[in-house]
Amino acid sequence: MVEDSLSSNAEFLSGWEMVVGLEVHCELKTRTKLFCGCMNAFGQEPNTSICPVCLGLPGSLPVINEHAVELAIRIGLALNCRVDESIFHRKNYFYPDMPKDYQISQYEKAINENGYLELPLSKKRVRIERAHIEEDTGKTTHVGGDGGRIHGAVHSLVDYNRAGIPLVEIVSAPDLRSAEEAREYVSELRSILVASGASDGKMEEGSLRVDANVSVRRSGSREFGTRCEIKNLNSLRSLGRAIAYEAERQVELIESGQVVVQQTRHWNEDQGVTTAMRSKEEAYDYRYFPEPDLVPLCPSKEWVSEIGSRIGLLPADRRKRLTSLFEGVESGSTFDQIVTVVGLGLDELVVGAVEGGADPRLALARAANEVAANMVNQANLSVEAFGELIKMESAGQLSATQAKTVLGKMLESGYRPQEVAASLGFEALDTAVLEALIDQVISTSPKEWERFSSGEDQLTGFFVGQVMKLSKGRADGKVVTAALHSRRA
């Protein structure tokens, strides 16, 4: 999945190193908002999930949602953080999507500090500086001007349904060194958030939002360069492209004798560029001070360990569990498949199928490829049906091609593999029929058969193809190959 821009970027950056730190905002999967009983839901009619508290009406007061704190602690534990006493601060600035014109956030003492995340492929540990709780803002829609953008808009419309939804902001140390690493980090973080039950991890719905701090320095240098913060990274693809672009931009600036100005930049997905939003020289004075309407959070050791016991298996353990199904993960591609399967939360499917007697390698491959490609319908697939399909394929009742087709139909319909196979006419060919087809091919291509019989193996494909054609795809290539070779002997 590595894009062209990234590989060319690596060359461009030779002699340079990029330094990336990420701030990931994650919406917590609670029923209600952080400080009030309004529903935490995506896609509601505008301004229907609002109350005096999340609208910041005069006189209203916040009360912390206990479950939001629990989910935040789960995140902290899953990221190996120290979970400790914390307080809330007010971050003061004016903006129409913020009902109180201050955001309640954690500033000095965050609930989770000093953790790490281990990247699955490189095993590199990325330090997590903090993962703190804060409230989300409302949403503005820009009307008039250029396609809903803020610039040139005539006016804007504000919907406060999202205002007050609980967020955890996860801040990494500047430990990432490439766009690929950044993507791997976010992808693993997303898996952790989903596995711990803290978030649904849907980047496309904005429940996971990433800001990237990017700087560059000469290879071997220990000092950090001036960094820019990139906002609006709504997918892994944007993240990778934006970081690569930004690093190139900075290198170009420096190599042409200019300097990088510390600023916040906006990623423009259509044009594939970052543009300046404002420079840090006009940095806002947020006037943080302790939120007087809330009291400190002091999670007891007992509560924290109880929460810890409720976290399900995390991705690293899930990968271990999958790996243990094989006698040894000799090839990198198997491990890649394991990472993919765990990343998508398909590992239960594979483990369940294997426990039901399915072949591990085949189950893993089908999950990592066919199921992974059709995640929208993944809920239609039961562990049992998946296991049966894998067993049918291993037993030769379905060819590989047939198995893939059947799996596709199963994902769409939720039917059992036998039903789908029958409806497609994918009955396994019995040996007699197959032998008859082989006879037919030999009789129509005697010269080729003679050459094949005398050892020209390159003709295997030709004969398998002919048999498949006659069987209208019902024959299993491997079985045909074996049959051809035993005939020749």
């Binding site: 005069p58 006189g59 007061l61 109180k100 004075d285």
Partner: protein, 487 residues
């Protein structure tokens, strides 16, 4: 109807209403008529909610007709400071920025008072956003003192204090951030209470300084004040800073006297008070001593730093609390070319000079480079004051001081000099910083025959002792001979 209920206590009215000797409707009509006839001179009400009042009274009478008990405040008229949120009834904070705002919800105290049978007559005047000590900062004109229309009623809850003193209602609710209940109570010759922080829910109180604000009662006697506080106190799940646990019983022991109680007179708060206020305090101390209390002078050194700490902390919190008045969701909008211009135009037009002054002071105290020197330091001084009180309460049950250094001053006397106005809060502020309760009890007349208030301070949740001492003080207090403006 037999006799007029005007001038009766809340206890008396509730008793008459519950025993069907008078209807809540009659009581309401009578008080509304007085307000309508006389408030033109006083300007204590910003809005009279006649319809809602009559509807509440009717509901009380219907309950009584059905043999149900409407509660401890059955049919008792109550005035509400206009920074308490009332559903469908405009709530202005005496500010142009909220001039037309009709809230979609009720403050917790409003619900509690209503549930106890109280009948809200309307919303009373205040210094804009409760910032002031004279009610001259109202953008709807000042309230006047009912004993002398040329003088201020104190503030910021001047409307509620004046309305109760003028007998427009036997009880009222106010809010006290640095003395905004006790100082106007003293200046108007009535009782005013600032409860322990967290005893009364702040949900629906429009915030001035969140860590200092408390809602509390006004009444013309100590028992009524205790009764109203008993009704509005108690845990509220809508306020994270609301105390749990049972509400202390404020009434059972109120008549039990002060025999054996240790009462300390705070020396630091006597310095600089007017001669007659000083004399009144001595007399109050003697009266309590004569009733069997052990009264001694003591030093609570840190209280003298209260004013400085307060005028950094309160504006800092206010600068943030008042950010939401931005012309987007409710209240005044003055349209500019863009969002930022609209913010500036709306806020510049919507806020009065004192509010702007405190927003700027608070913004400065929190701003980068000054936080530690001002806000941070003020918070440490706050700890110092709490510590100083803690030591005092090791040796004393309650403390005594004047409520205000002077009696009511003339309108306009301090308007040009904010600092001199701030100094009128010097005796009341330390209590707010500590989160403790305090009460102001009228104690005769002072300069210009205007009322004097004596303040009783108690440790957190020490309300029961505080009321006991207040009741004893009230028993021995000289009366106010001066007539109300309409009498």
């Amino acid at each position: 109807m037999t006799a007029s209920t005007i001038g009766m206590s809340a206890f008396e009215i509730a008793t008459l209403v519950r025993s069907k000797q008078v209807s809540a409707a009659e009581v309401t009509h009578e008080h509304l008529a007085l307000v309508k006839a006389r408030d033109g001179d006083l300007n204590s009400f910003l809005q009279i909610s006649e319809e809602a009042a009559l509807a509440s009274a009717k509901a009380v009478d219907e309950m009584i007709a059905k043999g149900e008990d409407p509660g401890a405040l059955a049919g008792v008229p109550i005035a509400l400071k206009d920074n308490l949120v009332t559903r469908g009834i405009s709530t202005t904070c005496a500010s142009q920025i909220l001039k037309a705002w009709k809230p979609p919800y009720d403050a917790t105290v409003i619900l509690k008072a209503r549930a106890a049978g109280a009948v809200a007559l309307g919303k009373t005047n205040l210094d804009e956003f409760a910032m002031g000590s004279s009610t001259e900062n109202s953008s709807f004109g000042p309230t006047r003192n009912p004993y002398d229309l040329g003088r201020v009623p104190g503030g910021s809850s001047g409307g509620s204090a004046a309305a109760v003193a003028a007998k427009f209602a036997p009880i009222a609710l106010g809010s006290d951030t640095g003395g905004s209940i006790r100082q106007p109570a003293a200046l108007c010759g009535i009782v005013g209470v600032k409860p322990t922080y967290g005893l009364v829910s702040r949900y629906g109180l429009i915030a001035f300084a969140s860590s200092l604000d408390q809602i509390g009662p006004f009444a013309r006697n100590v028992k009524d004040a205790a009764l109203l506080l008993q009704v509005i106190a108690g845990h509220d799940r809508m306020d994270s800073t609301s105390l749990g646990g049972p509400v202390p019983d404020l009434l059972s022991d109120i008549e039990n006297g002060v025999e054996g109680l240790r009462i300390g007179v705070i020396e630091e708060l006597i310095d600089g008070v007017s001669p007659m206020v000083g004399t009144a305090l001595d007399s109050a101390a003697n009266s309590l001593s004569a009733q069997g209390a052990q009264v001694e002078h003591l030093s609570v050194p840190a209280v003298k730093y209260g004013l400085s700490a307060y005028y950094l902390i309160a504006p800092a919190e206010a600068s943030s609390n008042l950010a939401r008045y931005d012309g987007v969701r409710y209240g005044l909008r003055v349209e500019g070319q863009d969002m930022n211009e609209t913010y500036v135009a709306s806020r510049t037009k919507g806020f009065g000079p004192e509010v702007k002054r405190r927003i700027m002071l608070g913004t400065f105290a929190l701003s980068s480079g000054y936080y530690d020197a001002y806000y941070g330091r003020a918070q440490r001084v706050r700890t110092m004051i709490i510590d100083s009180f803690r030591k005092a309460y090791e040796s004393f049950d309650v403390l005594l001081s004047p409520t205000s250094p002077t009696t009511a001053f003339e309108l306009g006397a301090k308007a040009a000099d904010p600092l001199s106005m701030y100094l009128s809060d010097v005796c009341t502020i330390p209590t707010n910083l500590a989160g403790h309760p305090a009460i102001s009890v009228p104690y005769g007349e002072g300069e210009n025959e205007m009322p004097i208030g004596v303040q009783i301070l108690a440790p957190a949740l020490g309300e029961a002792n505080m009321f006991k001492v207040a009741r004893a003080l009230e028993r021995g207090a000289p009366l106010i001979a001066k007539k109300l403006f309409w009498e």
